[in-house]
């Protein structure tokens, strides 16, 4: 069903592109908006409100600030949608768009984007010194036991492609975005359901360590079909409100 859907969508899109190309040849003009394809009663049509910023099919916006949402784990996306709606995360346009959407629809939107398996672009050229990136890699792979700082890999998977359904992958994200998110977690600007494990981790990181981690992560290629590993049952080093398995009594958000 979902596959048929996807096929017919891409068929439509191909058809749309051909028509567009022909029209461009004939009239020298073609609407650039993503909605130029014929109307379909599908999720892809419904989430044009999202892809305006997050890029076609949620592959990420052009400026490095709107992250890729395609292929992220469904539980993670659902939690982020709820966090924006309930203003634990702050970005006015997201807060406003989601304010009046209920959990059922947010779950469907999350499931839609989670189900997209699209290739990633190659990583951008490595930024920062080799020494900085080495420091970042050490933190990602080993953390710092002396400070009880867990390794990124402990939760986000050995391949850093995430753990379904709640823990996102860390690859394929721009350095600016990673810096902004870790910084926001550190200052309390970005929050998750309590207990907020990422806030705890980010507060242990010095600003230059955040820079190191982001520089190294952003330079890593994403393996093909980088689906999140499905070892959700494995223990996490910290209790996380957003991960159902570690927080059985986590509040369910505003049940509307």
């Amino acid at each position: 069903m979902a596959i048929d859907d996807k096929r017919s969508r891409s068929a439509w899109r191909r058809a749309g592109r051909i028509v567009c190309a022909l029209a461009a040849l004939v009239a020298g003009a073609c609407a650039s908006s993503a909605g130029a394809a014929p109307f379909e009663d599908t999720m892809a049509q419904r989430v044009l409100a999202c892809t305006g910023c997050h890029g076609r099919e949620g592959r990420a916006g052009p400026d490095g600030y709107y992250p890729r949402i395609a292929g992220k784990p469904a539980g993670y996306l659902f939690n982020q949608l709820r966090n924006f709606r309930d203003e634990r995360r702050h970005y006015e346009l997201m807060n406003g768009l989601l304010a009046l959407l209920d959990d059922a629809y947010l779950r469907e939107i999350a499931g839609y984007f989670a189900g997209l398996d699209l290739p990633y672009p190659p990583p951008l050229a490595a930024a920062g010194s080799a020494e900085l990136r080495a420091r970042g890699e050490a933190l990602v792979r080993r953390g710092d036991p002396a400070r009880s700082l867990p390794a990124c890999n402990d939760c986000h998977g050995a391949a850093m492609t995430g753990r379904a359904p709640f823990v996102p992958g860390l690859l394929g994200l721009p350095r600016d975005y990673l810096n902004a998110q870790l910084g926001a977690w550190r200052t309390g600007q970005r929050r998750a359901l309590a207990p907020d494990c990422m806030a705890e981790v980010a507060r242990k990181l010095a600003p230059e360590e955040i820079g190191a981690v982001s520089a190294w992560l952003a330079a890593q290629p994403v393996p093909p079909h980088a689906a999140a590993a499905s070892d959700a049952g494995a223990a996490l080093p910290l209790p996380c409100g957003g991960v159902a398995a570690t927080a059985p009594n986590a509040p369910g958000g505003a049940g509307r």
Partner: protein, 425 residues
């Protein structure tokens, strides 16, 4: 002689002051209103009735913070006079734990808190004063049934002298009297029920009426439309069929709009989307039909615009290009839209309304219709805040307001900037 005159003048002033103070005090006296009467409902039915009425009264929107426990208060309400914080309505010590149903009735009917303080009319007691006592008691029973949530009330941050109880007393002397709902014997029971829901419980005029410099509306019966302060959304007139009047709509379309957020004649946006999501979608069909009866019977507007209109905008190449690039994909090259998904812009009265601030809000912020039982998977529009500059939005909207038969005034860049400022507060 001079001295005697001065003394006389002073005396007159003193007497005038004393009389004014006496008048203000007199105007602020409590009205006992209806006494409590035993209810025929058992406890569970009373709570269920109360929940229904609390929803019909749109209490959630102010008394709940985003992501917070329902009715636990804390939401900041910005007004031209400063910021008010809606109090906690759950039965915690920081909320209504110590309140009785008489206290609650006094708050709704007289606008006075349990401790005797006068309440600010951001709490719509100028409307709620007409509630039936039985409804007040049911609402109170529901709030008392909620799980207590500890959330201490935050003090309001109002400007001087608005922050003074004496100033509020003067405001009330001028603009508020306790009242009761008087049914119109010449109208049907249906119409009267609709009047009660629209004027009293739903407090529709809190938005759909112009406010004077003192923040007062022309009363719960005025629904002539107004700009919502601070937010800068325009709540259109419910009289005028060129704005949001429904005199020419079928009852079914009015009911669909209030129940699902979308109807063949239009859909809800901005603050009204919130009203549908939090309130009217939960009303039963009989009450929605009553509201439709009342709204459809409101006096319509005359054929001529009440104020002289500015010259209509002219279509522009730049506006047409922006429309083709960003809008036509969904709304259609001729503004025809897609039924059930993307509103038609041709023939859409929301396009033509002046002030055009709602159009600016919609382009800047985008939005989904609210999820409702009747429209659980709404379509959405992306925000253009990061895509279009103020002058682009002005050109685009001016073009749309001059296309497909629209003949509305142009939208200036200044107007866009002002509204965008409000949108991105």
């Amino acid at each position: 002689m001079k001295r005697a005159r001065a003394a006389l003048a002073l005396g007159i002033v003193a007497v005038l002051c004393a009389v004014s103070i006496a008048l203000v005090v007199w105007a602020n006296r409590d009205d006992a209103g209806e006494p409590a009467a035993p209810t025929a409902l058992d406890a569970a039915a009373l709570v269920a009735r109360g929940e229904y009425l609390v929803r019909a009264g749109s209490c959630f929107g102010c008394h709940t913070e985003p992501g917070g426990a329902p009715y636990s208060g804390g939401r900041a309400i910005e007004t031209p006079f400063g910021v008010l914080h809606a109090p906690n309505l759950t039965p915690d010590a920081t909320g209504l734990a110590a309140w009785t149903s008489d206290d609650f009735w006094r708050a709704l009917h007289n606008g006075r808190s349990r401790d005797g303080r006068l309440l600010y009319p951001a709490f719509p007691y100028p409307n709620y004063t007409r509630l039936a006592r039985a409804d007040s008691d049911a609402m109170f029973a529901y709030l008392k049934s909620l799980a207590p949530v500890a959330n201490a009330n935050r003090p309001h941050a109002l400007r001087f002298p608005i922050d003074q109880q004496a100033a509020l007393a003067v405001w009330r002397a001028l603009f508020f009297r306790p009242a009761r709902f008087e049914p119109d014997r010449d109208r049907s029971a249906d119409w009267n029920r609709g009047a009660y829901l629209v004027e009293t419980l739903g407090h529709c005029n809190a938005c759909h009426s112009r406010r004077n410099v003192f923040g007062a509306t022309a009363g719960p019966l005025d629904l002539a439309g107004g700009l919502i302060p601070v937010q800068n959304w325009y709540a259109p007139s419910l009289y005028d069929n060129r704005e949001a009047g429904v005199g020419e709509w079928s009852a079914a379309d009015v009911i669909a709009l209030l129940k699902t957020g979308i109807s063949p004649r239009g859909s809800v946006q901005g603050p009204m989307a919130e009203v549908v999501a939090r309130s009217t979608q939960f009303l039963n069909d009989a009450d929605l039909a009553a509201m439709a009866t009342y709204l459809r019977a409101l006096p319509g507007a005359g054929a001529e615009p009440s104020a002289p209109q500015e010259a209509p905008a002219a279509p522009s190449e730049r506006g047409a290009k922006l429309y083709a690039d960003h809008c036509a994909g969904c709304h259609g090259e001729q503004g025809e839209g897609v039924a059930g998904a993307y509103p038609a812009l041709a023939g859409n009265r929301a396009i033509a309304i002046t002030p055009p601030s709602n159009l600016v809000h919609i382009v800047v912020r985008g939005g989904f219709l609210p999820t409702t039982a009747g429209n659980p998977r709404p379509f959405g529009m992306p925000p253009f805040a990061t895509v279009l500059a103020d002058r682009d939005i002005a050109a685009l909207l001016s073009h749309v307001r001059a296309s497909w038969g629209h003949r509305s005034p142009a939208v200036s860049t200044l107007e866009v900037s002002r509204t965008r400022g409000a949108a991105q507060r």
